[in-house]
């Protein structure tokens, strides 16, 4: 089992490396978007970080529920891992977003619905990590409760910030660039897959760390028997 996942891990790591090396090539080759020029190309990393963050939030929420109601320790390890990934990819998204905004529109922050939602989720999962770090023993279950509430909150934050913005309209920071130009399709898919593979790699690495910690704890416990 361990040998198989070790091979899988190395394989995925290699794939991720290749994809990230290849990404700039594809991005450079992609056409420029009509209004924004070069800075728009940050979107090729910005949107996938988003998606990765949401995936992490979802995984954390679901595994937290499993841990709370079924008590499986592996679910708790997955939740802790996913929370860290959510914070990490969220940070990527929250850095690239304002960088884009400052160059494109001259302001760092525009209370865009999606960026604000990401910020709130980021805060929730930073709180998750703090709770596990500073809460003392038994805080894993409490963090699981927080993650569940955080995940349930996603639609509410989105709706409320969105409606709030329509009352105070400002320039749309993140226009929908789904199929703006045909030349953009492959780079975005490539980058999306690259981030997905990176997500998988980090997840595996972190889970392995947690599993090893659990093993060491179990050995400690067995030793003192």
């Amino acid at each position: 089992m361990m040998a198989m996942s070790a091979r899988l891990f190395s394989g995925l790591l290699a794939v991720a490396a290749i994809m990230f090396v290849g990404a700039p090539i594809l991005i450079v080759g992609a056409p420029y978007e009509s209004t924004m020029g070069l800075i728009q190309k940050i979107f090729y990393f910005h949107v996938p970080s988003w998606i990765a963050m949401f995936l992490a939030v979802f995984i954390c929420g679901v595994s937290s529920a499993v841990y709370l109601f079924r008590g499986k320790a592996s679910a708790d390890r997955l939740a802790a891992t996913a929370a860290e990934l959510a914070v990490l990819f969220g940070l990527m998204g929250l850095t690239t977003g304002p960088l884009w905004a400052i160059k494109a529109w001259g302001v760092w922050w525009q209370w865009d619905a999606r960026l604000t939602m990401a910020l709130i989720l980021e805060l929730i999962f930073i709180a998750y990590i703090m709770l596990r770090a500073y809460g003392g023993p038994g805080s894993e279950k409490l963090a699981a409760g927080l993650a569940l509430f955080g995940m349930a909150n996603v639609p509410f934050v989105y709706i409320s910030v969105n409606v709030w913005r329509t009352i105070h309209p400002t320039t749309d920071v993140l226009p929908n660039l789904s199929a703006s130009a045909p030349g953009m399709f492959w780079p975005i898919v490539w980058c999306f897959l690259a981030f997905l593979v990176l997500f998988g790699v980090l997840l595996m690495a972190r889970m392995r760390l947690e599993a090893l910690r659990a093993r060491i704890d179990a050995i400690h416990l067995a030793l003192e028997a």
């Binding site: 008590g71 023993p137 038994g138 060491i216 704890d217 400690h220 416990l221 003192e224 028997a225």
Partner: protein, 235 residues
Amino acid sequence: MFDFERLTIDDVSRFYGRRRALSHVSLSLEQGELVGLLGPNGAGKSTLLGVLATLVSPSAGTVHYGDRTGVDGGLELRSQIGLLSHELQLYGELTARENLEFFAGLFDLSDPAARASEALERAGLTARGDDVVLGFSRGMRQRLALERALLHHPRLVLLDEPFTGLDEQSTQTLSDRLRALRDDRRIVLIATHDHDVVDGLVDRAVLIDNGRLLSLDGSDGTLRERYRSAVGSRR
């Protein structure tokens, strides 16, 4: 209504990371037994009581209350368990009677007012029934707290360090009350580090140290001596 005659702790362990709070604890308790759970601070006494009270779930092993387990016992199980914490679990701002009536209602007892009055009498606090608990001495609060825990006549009575801070008179009163419970066919488990006070009181004593259980039965020497030798030999 649900009831049980025997409490069986079957290879129960409880871990927190790499800290063993309880390790392979097995013990059987019958109706009409008064058992002492001795051990130094941090040994796992409170954790074991927590497990028996269904407030803490074991990492491994099962607790059997008659033919039901702790996991699927349901909330009916709690109607047969009485827990008295070290902190006594009373609301200082309320009067003795109000405390008892509140808990009687919580335990779904018919006519809470009457049950509260009975409990006050058993505690010998009828005269102070309408005084606020904040003004009570430790001994008085102890007596009240014990009756509070026994309001619903639970089969299993769990006491965590009940003798702390009591003077000799109060200790005697409490001991008598516990003996009466035992004679009433309850299962009484007292967790304490004070082996002197329970010597002669309990039918049986077990030692818990570093989460592990050890019987302290035997007729050679006082409980203190047996305890000392058991703890000493483990260092």
